[in-house]
Amino acid sequence: MTDVTSLTAAQIAGLVASGEASAAEVTRAHLDRIAAVDDRVHAFLHVDTQGAVQAAEAVDRRRAAGEELGPLAGVPIAVKDVLTTRGVPTTAASKILEGWRPPYDSTVVERLRAAGTVMLGKTNMDEFAMGSSTEYSAYGPTNNPWDLGRIPGGSGGGSAAALAAYEAPLAIGTDTGGSIRQPGAVTGTVGAKPTYGGTSRYGLIAFSSSLDTPGPCARTVEDTALLHSVIAGHDPRDSTSIPQPVPDVVAAARLGATGDLTGVRLGIVSEFNGEGAEPGVMAAFRESIEALTKLGAEVVEVSCPNFQYALPAYYLIAPSEASSNLARFDGVRYGLRAGDDGQRSLEEVMSMTREAGFGAEVKRRIIIGTYALSSGYYDAYYGQAQKVRTLITRDFESAFERVDVLVSPTTPFVAFPFGSRTADPYQMYLSDLYTIPTNLYGGPAISVPCGLSEGLPVGFQIMAPTMADDRMYRVGAALESAVGTFTPPAL
């Protein structure tokens, strides 16, 4: 492929900055690619052709006027449909928000626009980001470009698939329990979950407020870092946003790309011993560890005894918060309203709206969360889960006294066939076994492609201390320099 769609974001930005390509033609090429393949991939829920062309032309005008452009100006980007975009439909892949056009931009999108990136459209996901396969999207699943019969991961399967299908060089995801990293892993792309509070949640349709984190996705570690640096940083509109400077992740990625990890200590989590994981995944992980050792990294094993409780704790905390966050979808002010025939009571209309508007997995989690917060059960469930969360945080803190980063496979399995895990929710939930502890702790983590298993991509996860996002980029870029990038078969 010599097509512009095969280039990295850094390369495209260079072409636009030098005038070798206009943002408009770069955008047109990506819109053409979407038109050519997205009926098979279904990465997008909405393509904003007009908005994209206008944004690209604005960048070209700014360049012509001699204005200085940012490092990603003119680069097309796909945004997960859970972030509000002014005037552009935003549904969180739910029927309950069908047709809703927000009157405001999320902070992440605002920063993307300010940086001159060109938003191509909104990507598919599991409804309200609840799922690991996009099979719970109310608008049909996204197909993995590596094998259209398999899941692209979730919840951010649309963003990851858009990258793998060369529909966009950059994408935005959100990660609550692994929704950026696991899709990255199973599509052979890079996905980073920044430190909680490092990127603003303002305009992110909340699933679980204490866990949700917007983050960057791309096909290379450097592109991911460039996007990270554009969207991260303190936002006064998000009370949980951290008022500290963002670590220099781009410099860290470039340092890592030199292939030198001398003096860097990697910790392998003893409890993630491969039980329940596919052998091919573990094999690729071990080979990557060897490759990193060759680059000078020191590898030690560390115990995080409370990680085994992460999954149950997560499946109490996240649904509890969700049950409250999703209460606002009642048909009164926006979105779907069902059963309003002028006769039914308000309560009936609210119930019918929620019955018709929410999918089965969303209802399951609302019910779990409502139960966990109920009087008489709070201490045993939500309260206990918060204690576990504290213990997991201590595990991370004591591990980071000994090592610079923790490493693991991103997810126990490669992309699985559609329908193979929907019958048993627990089988689906296991997808996030290795990613969830980080969310409970609040630290950053990245998934970088590290190999193939039976022809399908495997992801390598690097977890760092809070506000030390730069460390994972250094190690990730070093790994990438050692193992290369992975391209799916032509669509």
């Binding site: 972030l83 509000t84 935003t90 969180a92 928000l97 809703w100 927000p102 009157p103 405001y104 999320s106 949640r201 303002y202 305009g203 992110l204 349709i205 909340a206 679980s208 407020s209 204490s210 006064p236 509109r237 998000d238 009370s239 949980t240 509890s320 918060e321 049950s323 409250s324 209460a327 606002r328 979808f329 009642d330 009164v332 002010r333 926006y334 308000l346 309560e347 609210m350 409502t370 917060l373 109920s374 009087s375 709070y378 939500y382």
Partner: protein
């Protein structure tokens, strides 16, 4: 549906001991809402003071208003509370259309201020009311039911919601149960709310207007037999004036006593005070108790007020009403009872300012509690809105003290002031109301009166000084009241001695 005889209030309180408790909600007078930058002005067009945050649009997030936190801490300090060094907001989950998120951001088991008290005076006795907690939360919107005859939801064709009020900072002040006050319970309740209102006003944190809903009160009442455990309490809402607070407690005591006398038991329920009848009626019964599923608000970082800041706020508290009243009572030389009527009339600040503008304490009191209070009552206005400023009242009294006008003329001058004719001196001049002090003219009028009433003059000459009143009246009539009665009397006695 009273199917049993109601006792009199005296009978009720002779048999049972009431325990009361009050929950008061105060809308803070901050410029912006609790969790967004929307303005808070009262009375704007519906849904014009709203944004993604207070409409709970998907993705919107709250950020706590520092001014509201500061005001709450000041309230807590003024009520002798301890201020939490670390506390959180909590979500109170329930579905209601005027609550955009379908949860209220409030505080649950970690309030900002706890364990204080306030002392109130009832019948010259001090009653200490314990304060359980003071916490910060947000107000809801308002629902309007149109198309029906009653303005209630039944029969309405449409329900409209105005979200202007949604998200206005609200402080909830909860007392501890107040036992041991017997028949005085209604007065104690009223005195507490009045004291609280004055404290809030002195802190300048709210306009505390009960009629506009910026101060709202729920009253809990229970009865028990002497020596027995406390009874089941009811919560009375919709209590929107000081007078209603008193009436609500009184009527609830009578109702509960009647029910208990008849062998019934009290249902723990929410009741609504009826302004027109003065009694309470049960609210909509709920089949099951609401489970609010409180949990710490994950969208907001905890509040951790710096102790040094709290100490600064404490040091900067204004003189509180009780302390101020004691000082003023001393300075003005008035009785406890007189002071009480000054407070009840809302005249403390007005009198204070009138004195500051040069009037004597007695003079200032005379106008604000007399003529001006009467006019305020007649027009149903607050005293401060009646139309005269403390400076004008001081000037008016100054004219009286200087002998330029008498009290009767002063009332006429005041009328001109209230009619907007200007300051007292200007009104006096414009209306030609100055006392006749030209002795020549006055002497002539006195001589005319003596000549016209020889019988009365003779009596006075015989030493019946009391008869002079008739002659004074005649002179006053002749001068159209513009003479100083005392001067006239002196002149008459001098002439006839």
């Amino acid at each position: 549906m009273t199917t049993f005889a109601l006792p009199s209030y005296d009978e009720a309180t002779s048999r049972y001991e009431p325990v009361i408790g009050l929950e008061t909600h105060v809308e803070l007078g901050t410029n912006t809402k609790m969790f967004c930058g929307c303005p808070t002005e009262f009375g704007a067009e519906p849904n014009t003071q709203v944004c993604p945050v207070c409409l709970a649009l998907p993705g919107a997030l709250p950020v706590a208003n520092r001014a509201a936190i500061e005001a709450t801490i000041r309230i807590g300090l003024a009520l002798n509370c301890s201020i939490a060094e670390w506390c959180r907001f909590a979500r109170k989950n329930y579905f209601y259309p005027d609550m955009p998120k379908n949860f209220q951001t409030s505080q649950y088991d970690e309030p900002l201020c706890v364990d204080g008290y306030v002392d109130v005076e009832v019948d010259g006795e001090t009653v200490r009311i314990g304060i359980e907690r003071v916490h910060l939360e947000e107000d809801t919107g308002k629902t309007l039911h149109v198309g029906g005859a009653t303005g209630r939801i039944h029969g309405a064709t449409e329900s409209l919601v105005d979200y202007n009020r949604a998200g206005i900072p609200l402080v909830e002040i909860v007392t501890k149960p107040v036992p041991g006050i017997g028949a005085k319970a209604p007065e104690v309740a009223k005195a507490y709310v009045a004291e609280l209102r004055d404290i809030l006003r002195s802190l300048n944190v709210s306009d505390v207007r009960m009629e506009q809903g910026s101060l709202r009160c729920d009253v809990n009442t229970s009865l028990n037999l002497p020596g027995a455990e406390w009874g089941t309490r009811t919560e009375t809402k919709n209590v929107n004036s000081l007078r209603s607070v008193e009436r609500a407690v009184r009527s609830e005591i009578i109702r509960q006593a009647g029910l208990l006398d008849a062998g019934g038991s009290i249902l723990q329920e929410t009741r609504h005070f009826q302004e027109d009848t003065g009694d309470t009626r049960p609210g909509r019964s709920k089949e099951t108790a609401t489970d609010y599923r409180y949990f710490p608000e994950p969208d907001l970082v905890p509040m951790a007020p710096d102790p040094a800041w709290v100490a600064e706020l404490k040091a900067a508290l204004p003189e509180l009403p009780r302390v101020k009243r004691a000082r003023l009572r001393e300075e003005w030389g008035v009785s406890e009872l007189d002071m009480q009527s000054i407070v009840n009339a809302g005249a403390v600040e007005l009198i204070e300012q009138t004195i500051a503008a040069g009037a004597s304490a007695a003079g200032a009191r005379k106008w604000w509690l007399g003529e001006l209070a009467r006019r305020a009552n007649e027009s149903g206005q607050e005293l401060s809105m009646v139309g005269a400023t403390p400076a004008q009242v001081a000037e008016l009294q100054g004219l009286v003290d200087a002998g330029k006008i008498n009290d009767k003329l002063a009332r006429s001058v005041l009328e001109g002031v209230l009619a907007g004719e200007g300051d007292p001196a200007a009104v006096m001049a414009a209306r030609g109301l100055e006392v006749v002090s030209d002795t020549g003219a006055l002497t002539a009028a006195v001589d005319d009166a003596i000549a016209a009433n020889p019988d009365i003059a003779a009596k006075i000459r015989d030493g019946k000084v009391a008869a002079a009143g008739a002659l004074v009246g005649a002179v006053m009539k002749a001068t159209r009241g513009q003479a100083d009665a005392k001067t006239v009397r002196d002149l008459i006695l001098e002439r006839l001695s």
